[in-house]
């Protein structure tokens, strides 16, 4: 099977029947600094990380198939460990496509307005997540002005410029693709344009404003995704939220049902009509209490299940036997100072998870710079062996 067939075979498998199922050997991604470090620790360099990439830039674990629309994908780790291509993002742009502007630059910091109109402050080399200083949507007036950027006429501008080539290249592809990414969710989008504090207070203070934002965004997404799906066969819809932190959900179940559920249902109805039956949510943080809420909307799975946030994937699997799970290998077990025994113990959990089915193992987020190449190699080779034993019904 190729990477796409493997992905689909696991996502659609019934119970733990591995007949006609092969588990893909994949990673979620790496930070640029991780790969740079690994070059000095033994990873053969096929292609260097672009010089203008700071250590804090994400390198996705898939090929860059869309040219300049996407950041560089991994070309070094994948061949060394004989990995499959990860669920690859189709290039989408949810922003109002505003011009990026530098507002201030000192020796140490840079302040800039991004394509969403969000003013950010960052270290000069952008090695860390920027701090949001100001967000464009504060009230109904600023929202009315902002929503003008989400009309039907903007859809064609959001498609890759070489659309016909992209469509042609994706026809006989051997890897899975997802539609959806950063900020493409019904908590993710309003939070991005309002800022997290304003967003959360507006849920209580002015609920109709949140509904109007989500209604507009939902209508826009269905039109945008519909245009793409008319030409490209999509394997999966991803709803990106990052709606939890280490103590749990950012918002209450009541708020989830009021402000998120109706829009998930509309997106899922669209997906089903388009023939897409894998709907995933991406959220960091402790997500267990969110899963029943998410699952009741029709979402079929989730990733990357950060263990440091307290997620217990074996427990989650027991509670939600059919929920598709990707990720869940604790990256901290590969930090300097760890040992092989800790990695082995973590891999035992992976083995247990695989026995239950509908699980694709990989590191629980981007592999961080703290992970040594020695420990990553040990983990990855051993995981590949475990997968080989499970694939093709050999377990």
């Amino acid at each position: 099977m190729n990477s796409r067939e493997k992905f689909l075979s696991v996502m659609k498998m019934q119970g733990s029947d591995y007949k006609n199922v092969e588990i893909p050997k994949v990673e979620f991604g790496y930070w640029a600094g991780t790969i740079r470090r690994w070059f000095t620790e033994g990873l053969p360099m096929i292609e260097n990380i672009p010089r203008n990439y700071s250590d804090g830039i994400a390198i996705m674990a898939n090929k860059n198939i869309y040219g300049e629309m996407e950041k560089a994908g991994d070309v070094n780790v994948q061949p060394f460990f004989n990995l499959d291509q990860y669920l690859t993002k189709f290039p989408v742009d949810y922003s109002p496509m505003l011009e990026r502007k530098i507002i201030d630059k000192t020796e140490t910091h840079i302040t800039y307005k991004d394509e969403y109109g969000v003013t950010n402050k960052s270290t000069i080399d952008i090695t860390t997540l920027p701090m949001e200083i100001d967000n464009p949507v504060r009230d109904w007036d600023s929202w009315y002005e902002y929503k003008q950027h989400y009309g039907s006429e903007t859809i064609s501008k959001r498609l890759p410029p070489n659309w016909e080539d992209v469509v042609k290249n994706l026809k006989n592809r051997d890897f899975p693709i997802r539609l959806g990414g950063t900020n493409g969710g019904f908590l993710g989008f309003p939070r991005q344009i309002m800022g997290v504090t304003k967003y959360m207070m507006t849920l209580i203070d002015d609920p109709e404003l949140i509904h109007d934002i989500n209604n507009t965004f939902c209508r826009f997404l269905i039109e945008y995704y519909g245009r793409i799906c008319s030409d490209v066969e999509i394997d999966c819809i991803l709803i990106w939220e990052d709606m939890a932190y280490k103590s749990g959900s950012l918002i209450s179940p009541q708020h989830f049902r009021e402000f998120i559920t109706p829009y998930y249902k509309r997106i899922i109805a669209f997906a089903r009509e388009a023939g897409i039956d894998i709907i995933l949510t991406d959220s960091d943080g402790y997500v267990e209490e969110l899963i029943p809420l998410i699952a009741e909307t029709g979402v079929t799975g989730m990733y990357p299940f950060e263990i440091a946030a307290g997620n217990d994937i074996l427990r989650i699997r027991k509670l939600f036997p059919d929920f598709q799970i990707m990720g869940g290998f604790d990256k901290r077990k590969m930090f300097k100072g760890s040992n092989y025994k800790q990695i082995d113990e973590e891999l035992e959990k992976v083995g247990e998870m695989l026995k239950k089915g509908r699980y694709i193992p990989h590191t629980d987020h981007f592999v961080s710079e703290d992970c040594t190449f020695e420990f990553f190699s040990y983990y990855r080779k051993k995981l590949n062996n475990i997968i080989d034993d499970f694939g093709k019904g050999k377990k």
Partner: protein
């Protein structure tokens, strides 16, 4: 319902629009400012914090309660007369560690700590090692708290501690740490006395640490 109970209820509900009027009424009725803070506002924040810690309330509730308390405090502080003062439990110096530009968690801790009667010195974000040293010399705090969101900047915390040791100040203060990637093990590894998984617990731990110190 007494006016103090009303202020308590409005704070729990996060009703920052109506709190001002009630607070002014309480002052006009001759209720001492310290009483309004201790009997209504602080108790309400403690209640909200407890319910947040237990998973019954969520971030939006916390943020609105915090905004309500701040609205009330902004009215009360200028109304204090010569002999009136807010009784303080202790002094807290807090900042986001060097290299980290995030402050939502830190700001929540500040609100909860102020709600518990602490005088708080906020050093802001991306705080240089020397700034904590300067702040300790200037304000003589009981507690110094490091906040960090990023795994990549956690590595700067040992350097912050070293800066305090080099200045001979480490033993003069109780250290606290919190933030998304921080764990109890991390705090223990560097001998940091207080670790808290959330803002509400942090404020309680501050109170506990000071009572144990005394």
């Amino acid at each position: 319902m007494s006016i103090l109970d009303k202020i308590y209820e409005l704070t729990v509900q996060g009703n920052y629009r109506e709190i001002g009027e009630e607070v002014k009424k309480a002052v006009d009725d001759g209720i001492k400012i310290d009483t309004i803070i201790n009997e209504s506002l602080s108790k309400a924040m403690l209640y909200v914090g407890d319910r947040f810690g237990e998973g019954e309330l969520y971030m939006p509730d916390m943020l609105l309660a915090a905004k309500t308390m701040k609205t009330a405090m902004d009215i009360l502080k200028p109304l204090m007369k010569g002999d009136e003062h807010i009784s303080e439990k202790g002094t807290l110096v807090i900042g986001t560690v060097k290299g980290d530009l995030h402050d939502i968690g830190k700001n929540l801790v500040i609100t909860m700590a102020e709600g518990q009667g602490f005088k708080v010195i906020d050093l802001g974000i991306d705080v240089d090692y020397g700034k904590f040293v300067e702040a300790i010399n200037e304000y003589r705090p009981d507690i110094v708290a490091f906040s960090g969101l990023l795994t990549t900047t956690l590595g700067n915390i040992p350097d912050h501690i070293k800066a305090l040791e080099d200045a001979g100040l480490r033993k003069q203060v109780i250290l606290a740490v919190g933030g998304a990637p921080v764990t109890r093990e991390f705090a223990d590894r560097y001998g940091i006395e207080i670790y808290a998984p959330d803002a509400s617990t942090a404020a309680k731990e501050f109170v506990k640490a000071l009572s144990e110190k005394k």
